[in-house]
Symmetry: C2
Subunit: 382 residues, 2 copies
């Protein structure tokens, strides 16, 4: 990182209830919030070119420290100027620490006080991810925002197991703060606590007592009921400092994002728009559309009549279905582009609604439109 | 097809030796020649969006009648306005008749006087492709240029087998001419003859005695030595009428195209730039580059320093190698875009060289540059 790069900061421009609009200032430019970050695990958002992300308004992409450390290596990416320059993206990069992947993807892993011991999912090489090495890797990768190493508590977890987990996460968080040496790269802490209100509160208090540049709610959208997810998110966000960016990790559907923005969250990431696209599922203003369904075989209408993306202005549902059934790469491209365009527009519209102090009505209207469309397609009455 | 659409025509603007520049006028616009057609078998050029092809200068794409007839069906594509409109491409479409695919891809096939009997490679449904049905399908698909059904003589073939094959192709060609009912859609005949000069001459004379709008040399690049391919191409082109477009099917490398343009061919198609891209191979001004080679691991230079495509102006070889090794869709996109950009530029440069009556020097220089680059990388002296 350039040591003369501007220090990370966060400015809030306006609020509407608990919802707020703001700006993240990073060494790789500014990011308007609420912001959704497309997932670019291996320094590439699957099927997308970096200039397309930029043109859709995205100014920050999420990459994964574990994946990049395993291949092509953090040192190599650093030598190439950091992730953003390596992937040809003009905006900023947030890296997930990789703890979740080290636990879920890697073969043979054990979690101890020191860190996570595992074997590379590529070649079986033994590796250890500690709070210190997680920071070292993310600093080498040139991330604009680094995430503390945490234990993402699996769901379901007994209360005692969840309590031990968040205590470990708290001790690791302290070590991450101490390990950080690059002042221009922001570092965020992560609160855990499973679905237990008392543990969520404890974890949020522990993490916010440490001098992080921003705070995240982690361990949600890992299998728990949607109501529990939203309850834990609301309970956590209320304990995060209002003057710092608040990041809800791994969430979610457009409706989830609208609800979380109302709670006061500023940042989001999720694989849904990109992964679902590759499986033929589109997010539209009238809810989810599965392009493989036979009903689209001769449908000349666009995927989303209210959308102005390249996919919706160029292709019919009939053609998109043909591409998907034929396994053409263009199917993944077109649906990913549409879904990311949809998520990006949702964030811009949310920002405009907050600025006009009309967020509640906007969120209710948009959510209703989505749910009415899905109910109609499922043959239910609204 | 719109019956008021302009009739197909071909205008030659200038010549330089046997090389010529011209213009195909089709119901979907004009195409400058010499022209390379990207292969869009299933109404999609793999990994590319139609506006990207247009932006690279491509005005005609090749699609495959067999594949589209099997899925999604010729009638459906016709109802959607024809292939070009179905796939959102503003230019023209040439369809291969599908005879080659019916013979090579389909399970259980037999070739008789009537046509090709086979089973769909998708669901095993019994189908027959006759000269009449091949034309009917291509008319329904809305192709600007249709190809006569031929038997693509396999290589190697005994002289007697090759002779019988071209006689069948000639009888099918007559039936194709009689079967055609759409005056605005051009129909091209195909000369065969394997690697036998006498048979190539016979076939070219037979096919050119029929009133086709253009003539193609087929059955080349099917396994024969490169010298034989070039000899047969040269021998055939000399017998094709000079006032009609001449199409060399399924060829080839950049060097092959430069040689064929010198012979007087106007049109080309080949899977090389698109298929090789997906396998990590790039065509550059200094020859082929295999991006997976370890030598590129830390190489910050572009794939082709002489290229101004998005891939070469955005990505380093190190990043492209990372994408390819990680199996990212963007690797296929970036290399396909580069290769098609390279082929498109080669055609534009060839046209400019012919216009300045400097084609011979241009082709020699470009070929030498490619071969010198490949020799240098292979450790040979030039």
């Amino acid at each position: 990182m350039n040591v003369n790069a501007p220090k990370f900061s966060f400015v809030i421009h306006a609020t509407d209830g608990d919802a707020r609009i703001g700006r993240l200032i990073t060494p790789h430019g500014e990011v308007s919030t609420p912001a959704f970050m497309p997932v670019g695990t291996r320094a590439a958002v699957k099927a997308m070119a970096p200039d397309e992300l930029w043109a859709m308004g995205y100014r920050m992409v999420l990459a994964n420290a574990y994946h990049l450390a395993v291949r092509p290596g953090a040192e190599l990416v650093g030598q190439m100027g950091g992730i953003a320059r390596f992937m040809g993206f003009r905006g900023a990069i947030l890296t997930d620490s990789g703890g979740f992947q080290a636990m879920s993807l890697a073969r043979i892993n054990s979690i101890g006080e020191d860190g996570i011991r595992f074997r590379s999912h590529l070649d079986g090489a033994p590796l250890t991810l500690t709070p210190e090495s997680a920071i070292e890797i993310q600093q080498a990768l040139g991330a604009d925002i680094m995430m503390a190493l945490d234990e993402c508590t699996p769901y379901p977890a007994e209360h005692e197991r969840a309590r031990q987990s968040l205590e470990l996460t708290a001790r690791w968080a302290e070590r991450c703060v101490r390990a950080r040496t690059s002042p221009s790269q922001a570092l965020f802490g992560i609160a855990q606590g499973s679905v237990y209100p008392d543990l969520r509160r404890n974890s949020a208090r522990q993490i916010t007592s440490l001098p992080f540049d921003g705070y995240a709610a982690g361990g949600l959208s890992v299998g728990e009921p949607k109501a529990a997810m939203r309850e834990m998110a609301a309970l956590t966000v209320a304990l995060l400092p209002a003057d710092r960016p608040r990041y809800l990790m791994g969430v979610g559907t457009p409706q989830d994002l609208l609800a979380a923005i109302a709670m006061g969250f500023d940042m989001f990431d999720c694989v849904l728009p990109t992964r679902n696209a590759r499986n033929g599922a589109a997010f539209t203003s009238a809810g989810r559309v599965s392009i493989k369904q036979a009903v689209h075989t001769r449908d000349e209408s666009p995927l989303d009549p209210r959308c102005d993306c390249r996919c919706c202005t160029t292709f019919s549902r009939a053609y998109l279905r043909h591409l998907f059934m034929a396994g053409e790469i263009l199917a993944a491209r077109a649906l990913t582009e549409h879904n990311l365009h949809f998520y990006g527009r949702l964030m811009r519209e949310a920002q405009a609604a907050i600025a006009s102090r009309a967020y509640k009505a906007f969120a209710a209207y948009t959510t209703n439109l989505i749910e009415a469309g899905e109910s109609a397609r499922n043959g239910k009455t609204n």
